[in-house]
């Protein structure tokens, strides 16, 4: 991600250039940079250091311990699996919705956008708690099904993988819809019209014109949802069972219950490394701006 400025700084300082290398506005970024280094970056680096020095002389033993224990690897596999299922659910539910937002009149689209943004900005804990109330054995869904005679025994909905997926998809759906909508909105409707003029059926115009053009948004949405899902803690803790444990829960457990800072730090470093790897791979396919640019638009 080399900017022109960086490129310039690496070449021989140009004496003829009238533009100074650093201008006065630049200093304004300094307080935030110092702040983030002290409060955000240093703690993360200290943790990375701890993962190889706690217990003293640990080296890579904490990492080794993780991959040697089948139970830990299973938590990691489960984390990927749950994140993948949540991503697919969001895609299936979110794609038609984002498409709908682009074809309805502007005022309706505005209302649909509010329906996406309200949950986006409301408390994750409250929404997870709501799902707990819905899914429990004595919860709203079971009560309704029992009262209406569809079932005679309450269904087991909470402490299941489906419960976790349902809750996580609900929370992550806005992160899928917003980047897709941002891309779909920029697709010129003339393309589809041109396809129709050339004899394509609406369905084939949709499949061969609209869907391919919307793929950058799909990719951005899927990536964002997947990466965020990997780090989920509250929702699997409240809606999942023991076998649904995700890596974040394991990290918290190691730190707060076993006080094993070295091992917990090693897993944290692993989680960050996995997250950054996905983002790096994706940054070649997707403009990262599409990920975050749209969330505060409008």
């Amino acid at each position: 991600m080399a900017t022109a400025d960086e490129a310039r700084s690496r070449t021989w300082p140009s004496l003829v250039s009238a533009r100074p290398r650093v201008n006065r506005w630049s200093a304004l970024a300094l307080p935030a940079v110092v702040f983030l280094i002290a409060v955000f970056l240093v703690p993360l680096l200290a943790m990375a250091l701890r993962s190889v020095t706690d217990p003293p002389g640990a080296g890579l033993s904490n990492y080794q311990q993780f991959f040697e224990q089948q139970a830990y690897v299973r938590v990691l596999t489960n984390t990927f699996w749950v994140a993948l299922l949540a991503t697919l659910t969001c895609l299936v539910v979110g794609y038609p919705f984002a498409y709908l937002m682009t074809i309805v009149p502007g005022r309706v689209a505005g209302l649909l956008l509010i329906a996406v943004l309200l949950p986006f900005w409301s408390s994750l804990l409250v929404r997870t708690f709501a799902w707990q109330v819905l899914l429990r054995d004595t919860g709203v869904i079971n009560r309704f099904l029992l009262d209406s005679g569809f079932i005679s025994e309450p269904l087991t909905l909470i402490r299941t993988t489906s419960g976790v997926i349902l809750g996580m998809s609900h929370i992550l759906l806005p992160f899928m819809v917003l980047p897709m909508y941002a891309v779909m909105r920029r697709i010129d409707p003339e393309y589809s019209r041109a396809a129709a003029n050339l004899g394509a059926s609406p369905l084939s115009a949709f499949l061969r014109i609209f869907i391919p053009l919307s793929l950058p948004g799909v990719l951005a949405g899927c990536l964002l949802v997947f990466v965020l899902a990997l780090g989920f803690y509250i929702t699997p803790a409240l809606l999942g069972g023991l076998k649904d444990q995700m890596i974040s829960q394991l990290i918290v457990q190691q730190i707060t219950q076993r006080l094993d800072w070295g091992f917990g730090s090693a897993m944290s470093v692993l989680l960050v490394a996995i997250t950054l790897t996905f983002l790096f791979v994706a940054s070649r396919a997707v403009r990262l701006r599409d990920l975050f640019g749209s969330t505060t638009e409008e």
Binding site: P20, F35, S123, G231, L238, L271
Partner: protein, 264 residues
């Protein structure tokens, strides 16, 4: 394009849209009527009508100090994040310096790193710095989480503003400071206000970092709720949930209003 094909498709799309809106909104809203129940347990549909759980929330010492703590941390976070973030947005948008994209990445990175990792990293160090379990520690942590939202919002305002207005101010004899205070700042103010609101909401709703950086003597509302949710749940939790939602929603509506007022 035969109408016989289009009509069912439209109905299907409308139905899908309605279902999705239902999925997005209904599960959360179910909590609201439950908070007004007369019964001693959470039930739906709620029985009777009563404000007793709100009364309990406001009179119970733990819940009420939780509200006060959340408000204090949220307001301080909003203030600090708005100042740091607005300056950073100016520096990044208008500055020219080596490593600018690196700085941009650093500012956005709190959005990417899993929040549990941030929480544990800060907890480990803040304990040593003796600011864990204090207002200061939590405000610093929440400010880091909220900064990206301020920077993105203010940057958007800066990119869309017409810089000729500043040149005009300079031509009319305004020095840079005066031009900034009387021309630039009023124009980007909606972005700054939006950033401040998002920063407050970020702190107001945040629970994972707060779980680690609070103590039994100093808890915010979401942490208090987290402790309760895992034990016996009485309808007070529904009242607390509704309170959290109402504050956030009100602020978002204020935001929509601010944006409407903004020059296009």
């Amino acid at each position: 394009m035969s109408d016989s094909w289009r009509q069912p498709r439209r109905i299907l799309m409308a139905a899908l849209g309605a279902l999705t809106v239902f999925y997005l909104l209904a599960p959360t809203l179910v909590i609201v009527p439950m908070s007004f129940t007369n019964a001693q347990i959470l039930s739906f549909p709620p029985e009777g009508f009563s404000l007793q759980w709100y009364e309990h929330m406001l009179t119970d010492r733990q819940w009420s100090t939780g509200i006060v703590n959340s408000l204090i941390v949220g307001l301080l976070t909003a203030a600090l994040a708005t100042v740091l973030g607005t300056l950073a947005a100016l520096g990044i948008s208008r500055g020219r310096f080596p490593g600018r994209s690196l700085v941009n990445g650093l500012v956005l990175s709190p959005l990417i790193v899993p929040v549990v990792v941030i929480a544990i990293g800060m907890f480990g160090l803040f304990v040593q710095w003796k600011i864990s379990g204090s207002v200061l520690g939590l405000v610093l942590a929440h400010t880091a989480l909220a900064l990206p939202f301020v920077v993105v919002n203010v940057s958007t305002s800066l990119q869309t503003m017409d810089r000729n207005l500043e040149l005009a101010a300079a031509n009319l004899g305004a020095d840079p400071r005066r031009s900034f205070m009387h021309v630039t700042l009023p124009i980007i103010l909606p972005g700054v206000v939006a950033g401040a609101i998002f920063a407050f909401i970020t702190s107001w709703d945040e629970v994972v970092v707060a779980i680690f950086l609070t103590s039994a003597r100093f808890r915010t509302l979401p942490v208090e709720m987290w402790e309760q949710v895992r034990q016996v749940v009485d309808p007070t939790v529904a009242a607390v949930s509704t309170t959290l939602l109402v504050v956030t929603t009100t602020l978002l509506l204020v935001l929509v209003f601010v944006r409407r007022q903004a020059p296009a």
